[in-house]
């Protein structure tokens, strides 16, 4: 075997003597190779983040009822398409455009509308702007899909259309600009590595505004105020969804290094796994201890909450801290779900608990756990309370949570309130009962399982 290969290589060298010298001559420079490697990694990460939409489709569909399955799943594909166009035309320019004056740039970016990138990376760029765009777009789409949790099973299709336009062009880009695009929170040194606040809290706040304005689904609450459990129709979908999101999160967090360089993205992936693990374990155990039964739904949400929380802190904290952050997120999501149910906010996908509560916690966690060596590595902000940094970073984190949360909630609330006044947010009672598959699209997602005619029996 070895002999044969040696023979083959010898023959090749005789036929193509230049092969032996390929390393010399005018090959790509080290800078080009570095750029190429970065580009490749960011592209892979962008694809992973886009694939997270598969997770959202399964998560939302599995957590809701059969009669809405086709609608819930299919509308995600539509809105991902629509937000891509909107973000290309306007959103990206507001988030990352560099033409605004210095004072305006604190609040919003200007430029790069209808983004028309150079076809290859320019000299000195560490990656092509095309790939950065695709990566950022995938984040915007994730934030939007998080928001849909609050709309599930009762909003009209047209509301999805209008809200996508506003969210993708203004609401999300403004917050992304504040923290990542050189805006005023970036100047303050707010630490949100991959978007616990930017992506998750923003989406969750939109979901909260929607669910408040939409009111609970029919049958969620009884006259005496007690809640009913509206179970999702497929826990296997929901579990697969969590796995898809979990894997996609490696693109989300580790991709946010936007560089291969010294391999720091590997550390980010490492803490991400620990955070997710902590969330899943803590959530199952806490539900088991408190309710006497280990709740699968809570466990799944716990894994996601661990991921959401570690998203802000994955690059700033030591391994033990990422485990702690995940564990706390798992407990928090359980308590938060119970809390929202109690205050009569009907959140079918637990978006507010998973992305909101855990997003807040993850962002604040940097104020406690950010370690000096890691802060130096990333170069944003200062070390946290537990490393002698005092309350400074905690205050910055708190500020960014409050400001971004308030902005996202207020903006979403106003937009949805206006839509509600003009065309209405919610389908009619009858449409809600027969299901949105039929009322919005004309066909059931499970045609054999549900009868189209005979709606009179309802």
């Amino acid at each position: 075997m070895v002999k044969k290969s040696m023979l083959a290589i010898g023959a090749m060298l005789m036929l193509f003597p230049t092969m032996a010298f390929a390393a010399e001559g005018d090959g790509p420079s080290a800078a080009t190779l570095d750029m190429g490697l970065n580009a490749l990694w960011i592209m892979v990460a962008a694809i992973l983040v886009l694939l997270m939409q598969g997770g959202f489709i399964l998560l939302e569909t599995g957590s809701t009822r059969m009669k809405n399955a086709g609608h819930v799943a299919g509308k995600t594909i539509f809105t991902v398409g629509l937000v891509s166009l909107v973000y290309w035309a306007v959103g990206y320019g507001f988030a990352f455009g560099g033409d605004a004056s210095e004072s305006l740039n604190k609040f919003i970016g200007i430029g790069n509308f209808f983004f028309d990138p150079t076809i290859v990376a320019a000299d000195g760029e560490s990656y092509p702007s095309t790939i950065f765009f695709v990566f950022q777009l995938a984040f915007a789409a994730v934030s939007l899909s998080i928001a849909w949790g609050g709309f599930a099973e009762r909003a009209k299709l047209s509301v999805y259309l209008i809200f996508t336009l506003v969210f993708g062009s203004v609401i999300y880009p403004v917050i992304a600009h504040w923290i990542w695009g050189g805006g005023w929170l970036a100047e303050d040194g707010s630490q949100d590595y991959a978007g616990s606040t930017v992506v998750h809290l923003t989406g969750a706040m939109a979901a909260l505004a929607a669910t408040i304005l939409l009111k609970p689904r029919i049958g969620k609450y009884n006259k005496d105020g007690s809640a009913n459990e509206i179970l999702g129709h497929n826990q296997v979908f929901t579990s697969l969804a969590v796995l898809l999101l979990w894997v996609g999160w490696f693109g989300f967090n580790a991709g946010s290094a936007v560089a291969v360089g010294d391999g720091f993205f590997g550390y980010v992936a490492f803490t991400t796994q620990l955070g997710a693990a902590g969330g899943a374990v803590a959530a199952l155990l806490i539900s088991w201890l408190v309710k006497g039964k280990a709740d699968i739904g809570v466990t799944l949400n716990g894994a996601l909450a661990g991921l959401v929380a570690i998203t802000a802190s994955c690059a700033y904290v030591e391994p033990w801290a990422s485990v702690v952050i995940g564990l706390i997120a798992g407990v928090l999501v359980f308590l938060s779900q119970a809390f929202f149910e109690k205050i009569k906010v009907d959140d079918p996908i637990a978006a507010m608990s998973v992305h909101g509560a855990a997003g807040v916690w993850g962002t604040l966690a940097n104020g406690f756990f950010a370690a000096p060596a890691l802060v130096e590595q990333v170069g944003v902000g200062k070390e946290g309370l537990f490393y002698g940094g005092g309350g400074h970073q905690l205050w910055v984190q708190f500020e960014s949570v409050v400001v971004c949360g308030a902005f996202a909630f207020a903006a979403s609330f106003i937009v949805l309130w206006i839509i509600k006044q003009i065309i209405g947010l919610r389908v009619t009672e009858e449409q809600e009962i027969i299901g949105l598959d039929l009322s919005e699209h004309g066909n059931y997602g499970y045609p054999e399982a549900l009868k189209k005619s005979g709606t009179a029996s309802l």
Binding site: N222, D224, S226, A227, E229, V290, K291, G292
Partner: protein
């Protein structure tokens, strides 16, 4: 209650000529007992209530015999025994318990007799069950009732049936064994009842592994208290916020002491009686027995309180109590009682595993 009143009640019952008047007596007595529920010792009250049920059932049986004679079937051709299972067997019926019963008659000597007896006793059982429905005892949902031919048969048929359950202890048969373990003679021939009872205990001692199967069948009902001592109330639906007293407190306790008692060959069927007998047999220390009896007493009280009258004035048991309606002074003893129930449940589980291995 004064013995004078008791005697008068018994006279009224034995003098009643139809189910309608028995129902009136039952309602009056239940109203009286319901009114003094929270102010009297619960064990005595439950005893009193169950004496009432027993005499009503006995009278219904007598009326059915009279009706049989009137219909031309004559007197019972051979002695028979009427057994109660479930809460009736345990002398723990509430204001709204249903009927779980069986009828056993002496073996026929030939085939002609066999047919006659079968006809007579099945008709008798049907009339009795019908009367009891009229008096306000709904039939058993699981169809464990004398009017069902599967639960109305001659003593040797019954013995064969018991043997077959012990030989083939699948889930369903073990469930039946758990039901009949609470069996108690309420009317008819005492020797027949004793013979039936002896067979059950003979079979049980002959196959001790049955005890483990019986335990496994009962573990489904967990005591509704969490590791932090919190009450595990219902979270959703119309019953949100309620505690399932029947299946989350009372039944697990019944299961534990049934198993311990049967295992020790104790034939007493009421749970309090079982606890007392277990103490006498030195299986429970006097301290344990006292705690257990106190805990069970509280469950009995709450279970009686979980019964209400519906809009038609009919007694209806939900088995649940809203946690916010629990009196403050009950919360501490209730949690203590539930924790004891949980401890006992685990203790029995451990012991069975130790004795027969895990699965």
């Amino acid at each position: 209650m004064s013995s004078l009143h008791k005697e008068k009640r018994l006279l009224d019952i034995t003098g009643a000529g139809d189910p309608g008047s028995l129902r009136t007596i039952r309602e009056e007595e239940q109203n009286r007992l319901g009114a003094i529920l929270s102010s009297s010792p619960v064990i005595e009250l439950v005893e009193d209530l169950n004496e009432l049920h027993d005499s009503l059932i006995l009278r219904a049986l007598k009326l059915a015999e009279i009706e049989m004679a009137r219909l031309g079937h004559g007197a019972p051709p051979v002695p028979y025994a009427y057994l109660l299972f479930g809460s009736g067997g345990r002398r723990e019926q509430t204001f709204s318990s249903d009927q779980d019963s069986s009828l056993i008659y002496l073996d026929p000597q030939n085939e002609a007799d066999a047919l006659t007896f079968e006809n007579y006793f099945q008709t008798l059982a049907q009339i009795t069950v019908g009367y009891l429905v009229d008096i306000g005892y709904p039939p058993c949902e699981g169809n464990v009732i004398a009017s069902n031919p599967d639960w109305c048969m001659s003593i040797s048929a019954w013995e064969r049936k018991l043997d077959s359950w012990f030989e083939e202890p699948n889930w369903e048969n073990v469930r039946y064994l758990l039901i009949v373990a609470d069996g108690r003679l309420v009317g008819g021939d005492e020797d027949l009842g004793a013979r039936w009872n002896a067979r059950f205990y003979r079979d049980f001692l002959g196959s001790p592994v049955i005890a483990r199967r019986m335990m496994e069948n009962t573990l489904r009902h967990k005591v509704l208290v969490g590791v932090f001592g919190q009450l595990l109330t219902e979270r959703y639906g119309e019953l949100a916020g309620t505690l399932d007293i029947k299946y989350g407190a009372y039944i697990p306790m019944v299961n534990v002491f049934r198993l311990m008692a049967v295992h020790a060959g104790i034939k007493e069927t009421s749970t309090i009686g079982r606890i007392r007998e277990l103490e006498k047999a030195e299986i429970l220390s006097s301290e344990e027995a006292k705690e257990a009896a106190e805990a069970f007493e509280l469950f009995l009280l709450l279970r009686l309180m979980a019964v209400t009258k519906d809009e038609n004035g009919q007694w209806a048991g939900t088995g649940v109590i809203h946690a916010s309606k629990l009196k403050g002074e009950w919360k501490v003893p209730l949690k203590k009682a539930l924790k004891l129930g949980r401890k006992l449940q685990r203790q029995v589980e451990r012991e069975m595993r130790y004795r027969f291995g895990g699965r």
